[in-house]
């Protein structure tokens, strides 16, 4: 990620040194999350929204419900689309422009988590079979970047969808009324990153910068795995993967409580 190899080598050395003493640069233990705060429905123009703070990482999630044509192979099902935007205000190194591979990965991992848990009842979003369906857009807007965007956005997406209302239609015409979206599951992603021989949760931007590998695992309420994604430039052994899954599994319920609220 970092263009500056010298800085990241020094950083890596320092971070690894501190990790070898069982601590992290900000004093957390390996499995500690930063404070996760989620506020729901703070925007009026969008059908659903959530503002997520995870330490200094700050994300706004907006849900808009529009209409469009269904996919050819699912003529009677609505569509869920997730998109991520790395705004230039979020980080000095980010520039305006088309999405880069990191923002695409973020959007795709969150999207796959929602989709493979089948959280929306896509049939209720159908207006006219084959012609018109409702499309639920989930936009992940990164406002300040300090690592672990996937976990923050995944939790924020659930929070925003759960508070979202969709317009209703009767015989193809809008009725002017809104009903809550049916959210059937609450998948929550948790990322584990590997630096040297250490595995930590909820990395900061610096830690992400020097990581060797990352494994993101999304769990539903029954603690079943919905999605996995490995990234980073090093391989993991089978035992390491199993360890990551266990670490992530332990944290998912906690984050889910924060996302759902009460």
């Amino acid at each position: 990620m970092s263009k500056s190899n010298i800085v990241s080598h020094l950083k890596q050395k320092k971070i690894t040194e501190v990790l070898s003493t069982g601590k992290r640069m900000d004093g957390r233990a390996f499995e500690d999350f930063r404070e996760l705060t989620i506020k729901r429905n703070i925007l009026f123009k969008s059908e659903g929204s959530a503002e997520v703070w995870l330490g200094k990482t700050h994300v706004m999630v907006g849900v808009k419900v529009g209409t469009g044509t269904p996919f050819e192979d699912t003529p009677d099902e609505g569509v869920l689309m997730t998109n991520a935007e790395f705004t230039p205000i979020a980080n000095a190194a980010w520039e305006p422009g088309p999405p880069n591979e990191n923002s695409i990965e973020l959007a795709r991992v969150v999207d796959r988590g929602l989709r493979s848990a089948e959280i929306l009842d896509t049939h209720e979003l159908c207006i006219t079979v084959g012609k018109l369906v409702q499309i639920v857009f989930v936009d992940l807007y990164v406002l300040n970047y300090d690592g672990n965007l996937i976990d923050a956005c995944g939790a924020g997406a659930i929070a925003a969808l759960m508070g979202a209302k969709r317009p209703t239609f009767s015989e193809g015409k809008p009725t002017g009324e809104k009903v809550p979206l049916t959210v059937r599951k609450k998948p929550i992603p948790v990322s584990v990153i590997k630096i040297g021989d250490n595995f930590i949760l909820d990395p900061t931007a610096d830690e992400e910068d020097v990581m060797d590998a990352r494994l993101t695992v999304t769990f539903d309420e029954e603690n079943h795995v919905c999605t996995m994604q490995k990234s980073g430039s090093e391989g993991l052994t089978v035992d390491e993967i199993k360890k990551c899954i266990n670490m992530a599994q332990g944290k998912a319920p906690q984050n889910r409580v924060k996302a759902i609220g009460d």
Binding site: E72, I104, T227, Q229, K230, G235, L236
Partner: protein, 278 residues
């Protein structure tokens, strides 16, 4: 091999000396394969005259070409790294590779696959040997039949070796999925679409490291662990075919015209499920 007419599925699968544990022995997949059986797999290296290294793979009905260019000067220069080479991957599907036709412009899916392919291959390459250089891996999917990212990685790894780039290990990839609550190896298109989950895995057999791991669907944690182990078994079979392809090209202990050795899977069993693509 897969040029054979694939219309009927009278798969004459003799019940496998290989299927180890008879756990799901009587249960058959849509195309008659055993649960841990790969599709027919054919890899040929050195197929593109202009590329520094190349490979063609047929994995079931997937037909994919991989070309490697480099190490060569990075362009644009500001993308170069002063201490190592940069591996760049581009995964691209031909408009006619799927039904209906797709736009040739790169989709988000293509870009994500390009990225995960890069991180799947990177750990195997001695990038530090070529500071400031780029190594470009281009993948063209001519026909897609489920599991293209795994097939692409398999071809790309062979193409990298063919390009003479020093590598720590080959990278072999294979997917595991779940259909009708059973774990199966190397999903075809039908199983990919109808199945309950899909988990592509890439593995470096000598180093014992997993370099690609993705999963979608629904698996318990035990199933996930088991699926991972099954996938690795599949990768090891793929690895053998990759080695054979390279040996054949470079004439190592194999007569030039001897037909390429197939994976343990029976050749007949590649009969595809009747078309069920959407």
């Amino acid at each position: 091999m897969s040029k054979k007419p694939t219309t009927k599925k009278t798969a004459a699968r003799k019940p496998t000396a290989r299927t180890k544990k008879p756990k799901v022995d009587s249960w058959k997949r849509a195309d008659g394969r055993a649960f841990d059986e790969l599709r027919t797999l054919k890899i040929e290296s050195g197929v593109l005259p202009n590329a520094d290294g190349s490979a063609y793979i047929e994995m079931g009905r997937n037909k994919i070409l991989a070309g490697v260019f480099g190490p060569r000067e990075m362009h644009p220069k500001h993308n170069a790294k002063p201490n190592e080479a940069v591996l760049r991957c581009r995964y691209h599907m031909a408009p006619f590779s799927v039904d209906p036709r797709r736009s040739p412009a790169p989709s988000r899916r293509d870009q994500e696959i390009s990225m995960v392919m890069r991180s799947a291959l990177e750990p195997a390459v001695f990038l530090e040997r070529y500071p400031r250089a780029s190594i470009d891996v281009y993948i063209e999917v001519l026909e897609a039949d489920g599991g293209t990212r795994c097939a692409s990685i398999n071809a790309a790894a062979v193409a990298l070796v063919d390009a003479g780039i020093p590598m720590k290990d080959l990278v072999a990839a294979c997917a595991v999925g779940k259909i009708e609550d059973k774990l199966i190896v190397d999903l075809g298109d039908y199983e990919d679409k109808k199945g309950q989950s899909d988990m592509p895995v890439a593995y470096m057999p000598k180093l014992g490291k997993v370099t690609l791991l993705q999963m979608d669907g629904d698996l318990s944690t035990e199933e996930a662990g088991k699926a991972l182990e099954l996938a690795i078994e599949g990768c090891k079979k793929v690895y053998e075919v990759q080695r054979e392809a390279l040996k054949k090209k470079y004439g190592i202990d194999q007569p030039q015209d001897k037909p390429q050795e197939l994976p343990p899977a029976e050749p007949e069993s590649e009969e595809e499920p009747q078309r069920e693509e959407s």
